[in-house]
C-alpha cells in the first residue's frame, strides 16, 4: 500500500521529493531486488528522462529561433528510402539509351498505338471460390479482358492459341490452399514474362467504405516509384495492360505503387472537389505483388532465358537495397 504513494524510504538513496530526483552516479535501477520497488523507481526514471528530453527540445527550438536565418537546416530523419543504396541502373529521364531501348522493345507497338490490349485471365488448376471471384473482379477492373478456366491445359499450348486470337497479355493467377498467391504476367507476342508473388488480396466486399462497382470506362494508370531499369520495364508491362486512352469521364484510376520492392495495386474513383483537393474512394480489388523473376520470352520455366531472378542469398543481404 505504501509503495506507490511516494519514494520508498528503504532505498535510502533518493530524496523524498518526486520533482527532481537525484540519483547518485553509481546507482542503477536494476540493482534493486524487490520487483515492485524496482518498477516504481524505473517509472520515475522514465519520467525524468522524458522531462529532460522535452527540455532539450525546447532549448533547441529557442536556439533556432534566436539564430533566425543563420540556424543550421533542420535535420532530416533517416528513412529507408533516404538511405537506399544507390542502384546504378536507376533510370535518368533524359537518358537516350533508355529511350532508344524503349522505342524498340516488345512494348513499342503498344506505345505507338499499333495494338489494342486484349487480356486473358486464367488460374491454375481447379481454382477455389476466392480465386474465381478475384479473377472476375480483376476482369472488371482491366478493360477488354476475358476470364477462361484452365481445365488442366498446358500453358505452352494455350499461348500459341492466344496469339492466334490476338490476345496481347496473359495473366495466370496461381492458387494455394484456396487463396491466390502468385501471378504470372506474360506479354504475348513473344514478350517478357514476369512472375510475382501475390499477397494481401482483398476482394471488393472486404474493402471498407468502398464505392459502387467499377464501370466500363477505361481507367487511368498511375505508376509510382519505378526507378531502376528493371522497374521501368515492369512498369511498362503494367501500363501495357490498359488501353492507351483513358476515359476521364469515368474518373477511375488504377495505381501501381512500388515501395521497397513491393508493388501495391489499388483501384480508385476520384473526384476533384476543388483545384487543390481531390477525394478518392476505393473500389475494386487490391493486392500486393513482389517480383520473383522476369523472363525474356513467353512462359517457359525450363528453357527460358531469365533476365532477372530473385536470389535470396545474394539479394536479400542488405536492408537498404532494392531492385525495382
Amino acid at each position: 500500500a505504501g509503495e506507490g504513494s511516494g519514494p520508498v524510504p528503504a532505498d535510502g538513496t533518493g530524496p523524498p521529493a518526486p520533482e527532481r530526483v537525484l540519483f547518485p552516479p553509481t546507482f542503477s535501477v536494476s540493482e534493486i531486488k524487490n520487483k515492485q520497488r524496482r518498477h516504481f523507481m524505473f517509472l520515475r526514471w522514465k519520467q525524468q528522462q522524458r522531462k529532460e528530453k522535452l527540455a532539450l527540445k525546447k532549448r533547441r527550438r529557442k536556439e533556432r529561433e534566436a539564430l533566425g536565418d543563420k540556424a543550421p537546416p533542420k535535420a532530416v530523419p533517416k528513412t529507408i528510402e533516404n538511405q537506399r543504396v544507390y542502384d546504378e541502373t536507376t533510370v535518368d529521364p533524359n537518358d537516350e539509351e533508355v529511350a532508344f531501348d524503349e522505342a524498340t522493345d516488345e512494348f513499342a507497338p503498344y506505345f505507338n498505338r499499333q495494338t489494342v490490349p486484349k487480356i486473358l485471365i486464367t488460374t491454375s488448376d481447379r481454382p477455389r471460390g476466392r480465386t474465381v471471384r478475384f479473377c472476375e473482379q480483376l476482369a472488371t477492373v482491366i478493360p477488354n479482358s476475358h476470364v477462361y478456366y484452365r481445365r488442366g491445359l498446358a500453358l505452352k499450348r494455350i499461348i500459341p492459341q492466344c496469339i492466334a486470337r490476338d490476345f496481347t497479355d496473359l495473366i495466370v493467377i496461381n492458387e494455394d490452399r484456396k487463396i491466390p498467391n502468385g501471378l504470372v504476367l506474360s506479354h504475348l507476342p513473344d514478350g517478357p514474362t514476369a512472375h510475382f508473388r501475390m499477397s494481401s488480396v482483398r476482394l471488393r466486399k472486404e474493402i471498407k467504405r468502398k464505392g459502387k462497382e467499377p464501370t466500363e470506362h477505361v481507367p487511368e494508370v498511375i505508376l509510382n516509384n519505378f526507378t531502376t531499369r528493371l522497374g521501368h520495364s515492369i512498369g511498362r508491362m503494367f501500363a501495357a495492360l490498359f488501353p492507351h486512352d483513358p476515359q476521364f469521364i469515368g474518373r477511375q484510376v488504377a495505381t501501381f505503387h512500388n515501395q521497397r520492392d513491393y508493388i501495391f495495386f489499388r483501384f480508385h474513383r476520384y473526384i476533384f472537389k476543388s483545384e487543390k483537393k481531390v477525394g478518392i474512394q476505393e473500389l475494386g480489388p487490391r493486392f500486393t505483388l513482389k517480383l520473383r523473376s522476369l523472363q525474356k520470352g513467353t512462359f517457359d520455366s525450363k528453357f527460358g532465358e531469365y533476365e532477372w531472378i530473385h536470389k535470396r542469398r545474394e539479394m536479400d543481404t542488405s536492408r537498404r537495397k532494392f531492385h525495382l
Binding site: 488442366g152 495505381t255 476520384y270 483537393k277 478518392i280 513482389k290
Partner: protein
C-alpha cells in the same frame, strides 16, 4: 505343414504381417495375392502359392512350390511376363497349369489391376506435374512484415492524390475540370480569360461533356466546396463579373443558337459546374437584359 502353420498364425498366435481392422483382416506380406488374411491367401500357410508383382514397370510371376520349401533363398521362382496383355495372360496360364483355380484366377486379376495402374501412371507423368515448393517460415514472416512496413511508408492515398493533382495542374484532363487558379496569380487568370474567350467553340463541346458527367454520384458533395471557397469567391467576383459580362455579350452576338449553357460560364464555372447548368437557363434573360 501348412495346416499347422495356419492354425497358429491365422487364429491363435501372432502374425506380424496381419493387420486387423474393425471389419477385416489384412495381410501385409509382399507376396500375398489378394491382400487379405485368409486361409487361401496366406503365402506362409500355403506351400503351393503364386503372385504377380511389378518392378520398375515390368510384371513378374512369382511361384512357390513344396519342393523348394527347405531352401528359402530359392523359394520364389520368378518369371518375367510379356508386355502384351493377352500374351501375359497366356503365360500365366501356362506357368500355372494344373494349379488350383483360385490362385490362377486371382493372379490374372492382380495382373490386370497392375497393368491398369501402370497405364495411368504413364498418362499422368505426361501431363503437368505440380511442383511443391516448401515455404520457408522465417522468410514468409519476414516478407509479410516488410510488406506491412512498406505499406505504411508508401502512404498510398496521399501519393495518389498528389499524382492526380499534378495531372490536373499539367492539364492532362484538358478542359473538363474548370477550376479557377487562386488569387495569388491574378495576371495568369486574366490571361486565361482572354484565351478562353477566343476558344469558345471547344468549350461548348466540353460543357456538353460536363452535362453528361453531371449525372455522376458525387453531385451532392459539391455543395460543401462552396463553403470552403466563399471568401475566395467574394475576392474575385468583382473582377470576374466584368469579364463574364463582356464574354456574354460576345457570345450572344456570335451564337444565335444559344443552348443556354455558355453565357454563365463565368460564375457557373467558379462555383458549381454541374448544378448551375440548370440555373443558366433561368438567369440568361436577366443577364441579357443587363448587358443590353
Amino acid at each position: 505343414s501348412p495346416q499347422v502353420v495356419w492354425s497358429m498364425l491365422g487364429n491363435r498366435q501372432f502374425c506380424s504381417y496381419k493387420m486387423t481392422t474393425k471389419t477385416q483382416n489384412f495381410c501385409r506380406n509382399e507376396y500375398n495375392l489378394t491382400g487379405l488374411c485368409n486361409r487361401s491367401s496366406c503365402p506362409l500357410a500355403n506351400s503351393q502359392y503364386a503372385t504377380v508383382r511389378e518392378e520398375k514397370g515390368r510384371c513378374y510371376l512369382y511361384m512357390k512350390t513344396i519342393e523348394r520349401a527347405a531352401f528359402p533363398r530359392r523359394l520364389w521362382e520368378r518369371v518375367l511376363l510379356s508386355k502384351n496383355y493377352e500374351k501375359a495372360l497366356e503365360e500365366i496360364d501356362e506357368n500355372l497349369i494344373y494349379w488350383p483355380r483360385f490362385i490362377r484366377h486371382k493372379c490374372k486379376q492382380r495382373f490386370t489391376k497392375i497393368t491398369q495402374y501402370l497405364i495411368r501412371i504413364r498418362k499422368l507423368t505426361l501431363k503437368r506435374q505440380r511442383k511443391l515448393v516448401p515455404l520457408r517460415r522465417k522468410i514468409e514472416r519476414r516478407e509479410n512484415r516488410r510488406e506491412e512496413k512498406a505499406l505504411i511508408a508508401a502512404q498510398l492515398d496521399n501519393a495518389i492524390e498528389k499524382e492526380l493533382l499534378e495531372r490536373l495542374k499539367q492539364d492532362t484532363y484538358g478542359d473538363i475540370y474548370n477550376f479557377p487558379i487562386h488569387a495569388f496569380d491574378k495576371a495568369l487568370q486574366q490571361q486565361e480569360a482572354e484565351s478562353e474567350s477566343e476558344s469558345e467553340a471547344e468549350r461548348e463541346e466540353e460543357e456538353e461533356d460536363d452535362e453528361d458527367a453531371g449525372e455522376r454520384e458525387f453531385v451532392e458533395a459539391e455543395d460543401s466546396e462552396l463553403s470552403d471557397f466563399e471568401d475566395m469567391d467574394k475576392l474575385e467576383t468583382s473582377s470576374e463579373e466584368e469579364q463574364e459580362e463582356e464574354e456574354e455579350v460576345e457570345k450572344e452576338a456570335s451564337h444565335s443558337k444559344s443552348k443556354g449553357k455558355t453565357p454563365l460560364k463565368g460564375p457557373a464555372r467558379r462555383k458549381r459546374p454541374y448544378l448551375e447548368i440548370e440555373y443558366e437557363q433561368e438567369t440568361e434573360p436577366s443577364t441579357k437584359t443587363k448587358a443590353a
